[in-house]
Symmetry: C2
Subunit: 238 residues, 2 copies
DNA sequence: ATCGATTTGTGCGTATGTATC
DNA sequence: TGATACATACGCACAAATCGA
């Protein structure tokens, strides 16, 4: 039974914890250059290899970036929102695999985030962002099965981006993607996509008019429909 | 200028990407034991050291856990919600440091998550969870500056836990902690804590009665107050 | 443009921890 | 309980990349 929530017992773990603490406390700020591997290893009385493993672990956490060459070195990372979002996505993916994130739990979060998101997007969208959202709509007469996933995601991302709250994208995207991966791999019918597109178009209409209440309620209805579909799939496939 | 969004060029990076892909595609499921370092290194034609660094990077991402000894090895992780939450927290901490997560953006997310959370908690709380929340209240007559932070956090966590939506804790805790770290390091007055405690008590009253609407609105008012305080601090300290 | 100094990347060998017999 | 086998942890040496003089 693999499980490891222990305190640091290995050398690289101690070193990683030490550096991590300094970063999170603000002692080391983004862009700061750490000592070289040699300097770290001598200072902490470990081999260079051990220091490297600690650095690698923190780089995996997105806290450090490494550049080689004479002007290279190890730097405290300035992560992008996309990187943080990606990291959250992989964490949630594993949680849904191993533990028990039910459809209900995931959809509850989507409702909390995306209903207000639609409202915010109606208020804050630029014309350019609105155009990008329009681009993501399907041609309801001819559903293209190769484009439908990317269109669906583009719509979703477009609305989140139009809120002008970057954190919303960081948090909501992973939840959206995890649900999609879990329930929409193949088994969606054409009818499903036709209805999704129709509801997207309704939401877009409210975004056009900057109708915040309309966008909010249309988004709520859309998510209610998605919940019913996902829960039905969930009952079938376990 | 440190920045690195490159494609994998180093050997350990290639190996890490390869394994990461297998994990996220579901090919390797949580609990699965990977080949030994020696087997990995021979199979991928790299040294054991390189394989180790790839493993370390993925372990940092929370995708792998490593156990030593004869029955040890490298396993696909079964992360806990707390680990995913911690990882998100460090990501958000760096984002607030380097980039620009404004108070408004952070508080907007808190409102989206915590207002519905209070409503859910009023509906789903057990008596035991309610007891834990009561424990977190201050003694408003005697504010203990050493306990006030942990009490405040316990209240917050207690409400999230009482929603019975584990994802809520994963997402909301990091936002809460980042705001706290950034704005409440020292500069909160006793008056502030007295008012916070009073508003907590009001929310708890609604949780006692399972009054969902009451809890929701009290939470909304509480967050509105916090927003005003944080924004004021933000204007002062830049 | 080449050389050289500095830094990380990679390879191999040994030490140590851990479950089993 | 002690030996043993096998896994990861650690240490040293060399290769490769990068940038400036």
């Amino acid at each position: 039974m693999p499980s490891n929530g222990d305190a640091p017992v290995t050398a690289y773990d101690r070193l990683a914890s030490s550096i991590r603490k300094q970063i999170l406390s603000g002692e080391l700020r983004p862009g700061h250059r750490l000592p070289t591997e040699l300097a770290l290893s001598t200072h902490y009385q470990v081999s260079r290899n051990t220091a490297r493993e600690a650095i690698r672990a923190l780089a995996g956490q997105g806290l450090l970036v490494v550049k080689r060459g004479v002007a290279g070195g190890t730097f405290v990372a300035s992560p992008t929102t996309a990187q943080v979002s990606e990291s959250l996505m992989s964490g949630l993916a594993l949680l849904t695999d191993s533990a028990d994130l039910s459809v209900s739990v995931l959809m509850e979060i989507r409702e909390m985030l995306e209903v207000p998101a639609a409202e915010l997007a109606a208020r804050n969208r630029t014309d350019e962002e609105l155009g990008a959202i329009h681009e993501s709509l399907f041609d309801p007469g001819r559903i293209d099965p190769t484009r439908v996933f990317v269109n669906n995601r583009d719509f979703h991302t477009g609305v989140l981006r139009a809120t002008h709250n970057p954190l919303l994208e960081v948090l909501a995207e992973p939840v959206f993607r995890v649900l999609k991966e879990r329930f929409l791999r193949e088994r969606a019918s054409a009818d499903f996509w036709v209805r999704v597109d129709a509801e997207h178009r309704e939401i877009v209409g409210y975004l056009d008019d900057r109708d915040q209440a309309g966008a909010r309620e249309a988004s709520r209805a859309h998510l209610r429909y998605l919940r019913s579909v996902y829960e039905k799939i969930d009952r079938i496939q376990g």
